[in-house]
Symmetry: C2
Subunit: 321 residues, 2 copies
């Protein structure tokens, strides 16, 4: 409970000297330094960091907004952010938004109130006009293409990535190709859908809305998708799945139902998560940890400048296509 003033009194010096000692600054005589140190020891003094925040106008806190904390995709991004944060002596404030707008707003408000120095939004839910009202208050970094916005981003080009995967499936002889995604709205979802439509046009296949499975994120969602596949009279021969977890669930359930993979159904996943490796699932590798690292570095680069960094992905051929 002691403060810097108490220490000064105890050590018989001024508060400035105490401040110098606790901040490892030079120009303090050895004896005074030791007197201060002794007083600190005796009184169990610890500096109140909130006073420092007030003065410096900085908290060394970075906000991270993610929809779900229990999903490997975001967990890996957070891991990348966390590792780099540690190196740079920053801490993270986690906002689990559940895709609820008001939760994202809470994060934005913390930026406004200077409780966090910057905010990383891994999957935006608020509309841009809402976000725009906040960008003057501090850096906000996104995981989606923001080249037409006044905010930085580190993102994967979902159009290109989807096209790459679809082309590969087509190259492997598939024509009836379905896709399985999370959200259909949002920049990323729209880019994926667009890539899918453009691809179908390119190979001259009709657009079948029932070939699009959306709202799926987890392993356990695989069951519902396989059910859906089984009940179709003209099912796709291949599925592009935007998450390895879901892909793994589909592979597992397919095997239980006696659906042969890749012969009756080909599967290509996304991210190259460990589960894809162990289950030998063909996938598009996304360097999520690295992405997190870059997001963080962008967040603390105090330059006013805005940057857009595109992440490149890689096809990992395995046994499900």
């Amino acid at each position: 409970m002691a403060n810097i003033k108490d220490i000064a009194k105890m050590a018989g010096v001024s508060v400035t000297t105490v401040s110098r000692v606790i901040n490892n600054q030079p120009y303090v005589s050895l004896e005074k330094r030791e007197a201060v140190l002794r007083a600190i020891e005796a009184s169990k003094y610890e500096k109140n960091i909130n006073a420092v925040h007030l003065i410096k106008g900085k908290t060394f806190l970075i906000g991270v907004a993610i929809p779900f904390s229990n999903h490997p995709y975001f967990a890996l991004i957070v891991e990348g952010i966390a590792n780099e944060a540690l190196k740079n002596n920053y801490k993270l404030v986690l906002f689990q938004t559940n895709y609820e707008e008001y939760r994202e707003k809470e994060a934005l408000d913390m930026l406004k109130q200077k409780q966090i120095d910057a905010l990383i939004i891994c999957s935006r839910i608020c509309q841009w006009d809402t976000i725009d009202a906040y960008i003057d208050y501090g850096p906000i970094i996104f995981c989606e293409d923001t080249t037409d916005k006044k905010a930085s981003s580190v993102y994967m080009n979902h159009y290109k990535s989807f096209t790459k995967a679809l082309d590969y499936l087509h190259y492997k002889g598939h024509k009836k190709i379905g896709i399985c995604v999370g959200r259909r709205n949002g920049t990323n979802g729209e880019q994926r859908l667009l890539a899918y439509r453009d691809f179908l046009n390119k190979i001259n296949e009709p657009f079948e809305s029932k070939y699009i499975f959306s709202g799926y994120y987890d392993f356990e969602d695989g069951e519902e998708i396989v059910q859906g596949l089984i009940s179709m009279n003209n099912p796709p021969s291949a599925l592009l799945v935007s998450s390895d977890q879901v892909a793994a669930g589909i592979v597992t359930c397919s095997k239980e139902r006696g659906i042969s993979i890749p012969h009756e159904l080909a599967i290509i996943g996304f991210d190259n998560q460990p589960i894809a490796k162990v289950m030998n699932i063909t996938t598009i590798e996304v360097p999520l940890v690295e992405m997190g690292r870059k997001l963080f570095l962008r967040a603390i680069s105090n330059q006013k400048s805005i940057s857009y960094e595109e992440i490149t992905v890689k096809l990992v051929e395995r046994s499900t296509v």
Copy 2:
């Protein structure tokens, strides 16, 4: 960038009045209130929350230390904490410790410096004598039995839970039972080991150290365990696995290797995660989200009192035993 003083000047009132308005306090005439509101609007004023923290000695920030952010076990606990935090207007500061001591210490130091109001340690790595030096600085809550310590906890009794699972396996006719856990050290790990040894004594079976698989956390670890099982000349007929993810990995790999479950190998998992349900894995249900909720409530209950709350678990019979 405007502060309360600027607003006061703009609105032609005192800072006190401004303060009253922004904190929704009574005793401000309508006209002055509106003048203040107008000034706030015009200047894009937002209160600097750090000054409030300094005065109040409180930040509405709760620290949460977990070893890995990409593991469903901890993710569910964090979800429980996060939900309750939102309701109570608190925010979370996440510390991913990777079981590295200095990372946990960083969290403890933040408590000491009052940057967080309380700290929840979901899986402790620091020794107790290290922790002890911090308990006076604020509430620290643990997920392990701390009944002999001066710190609160909400925990599962791992001894009882393990015994329950082992008894069930024995009741189902198994005698050669192996276990598969994460850390062997730590309160929880030791309790599990003790339960295992006591159980073996009870049923008069010898202790086989090779029947203990430790250091496994994820789905993909299942492969290594199955490999280990295959290479044994006298493998166990049942495995108690302390995580559903690992159990799921074992089941998946076993099927690939043609090991029949439960006939050749019985598996019982832990937590009752969604993956256990979809893969029909027998498991011990642990109410992790609820546990997170209780952890949070304990963290903000400003009573100096210490409490120890034991969580009860439930056997969920499915098809892997």
